[in-house]
Point group: C2
Chain length 163, copies 2
DNA sequence: TGGGCATAATTGACACGTCAACCAGGTTGG
DNA sequence: CCAACCTGGTTGACGTGTCAATTATGCCCA
């Protein structure tokens, strides 16, 4: 059945002009959204999106601290990326790293008072920006549709892992 | 009418948990999509997404060349970003820059045979990847919905320029 | 006992982006 | 005339991300 068109089946088909237009619109727009939010966060709180996710995770963690690789899996980052980022955050006094008592060679990442305060001050403006730039872009139905778009995409990407 | 709830009108409302969930899903997924496509392009053609858009623009340009700042506005990049990127592409022999005859202080960017060939070899695999990773994630209706999501978002971002 | 292995994390090299500063060459107005 | 500005473009500094290599530590087992 799927072989009805022998040499040009689904596996070889290229996107139509319309599909490509949607694709371009989609990437460009999400790109713009990301950068607008990043710049708001930077201006209002002197934090990058990366800083924010790290601070958020630590704020919600037991004792405001977490093992480095747990943190990495929790926020879905590669260890090396996290390591670089923690280095920069440590320089700015937002977090601290110390030897982990229980795990050999483990590093405990912990929120400093400075970091906790920076996060606390950033949340409301950041959430407001998310509402203004993202949520308010849609009607309630459109927002649900956006959620379903994301869900479909995610499911597809998850099942089609790189071989 | 919009003042029905005096002190907590639209201007102050924060996203609900559900809105936030959708938001996070949306950014994370688009992020993953972008990186998956970039890595396919890299593996299959040794090009970055940036390379691709530059090469695409030049391929479609008159005589395979374009003034630097025209190119920048055409693909929607800042001049400085383009300048840096062209430097890297020039090092790899994909493009060349030369003085512009007509415009004082103008730089003409032109496709080299190497660049043209690299682009030619990259298109089909790249389009295929777009179909596999993006288009095939959706039913036709979902794809349209994704297009409308992008359109609504873009319209919103355009009208709400940074003040 | 002493290789090999696995795990946890860091490091270095390099691509990419942004921001601000800078460098030409006009044009323009006091 | 020349200073003030505008345009086109580059540069440097720095934050960010990926990949591959490296370091440190414990474990397993021949």
């Amino acid at each position: 059945m799927t072989k009805a068109i022998p040499e040009r089946g689904r596996g070889r088909r290229l996107p139509t002009a319309e599909e490509l237009r949607i694709w371009r619109d989609f990437v460009e727009t999400t790109e713009a959204l990301k950068s607008r939010l990043a710049s708001r966060l930077q201006i209002e709180s002197s934090l990058s999106p990366g800083d924010y996710v790290v601070l958020l995770a630590l704020s919600e963690a037991q004792d405001n601290q977490m093992r480095s690789s747990e943190l990495a899996t929790h926020i879905g980052w590669e260890r090396s990326r996290l390591s670089h980022h923690l280095g920069r955050m440590e320089r700015r006094g937002l977090i601290r790293r110390q030897e982990c008592a229980t795990v050999p060679r483990g590093a405990e990442v912990l929120l400093t008072p400075t970091g906790a305060e920076a996060f606390r001050r950033s949340t409301v403006p950041h959430l407001r920006a998310i509402r203004e730039l993202f949520v308010d872009a849609f009607t309630p139905e459109q927002l649900l549709a956006a959620g379903e778009t994301a869900a479909a995409l995610r499911a597809h990407l998850d099942t089609h892992q790189e071989e």
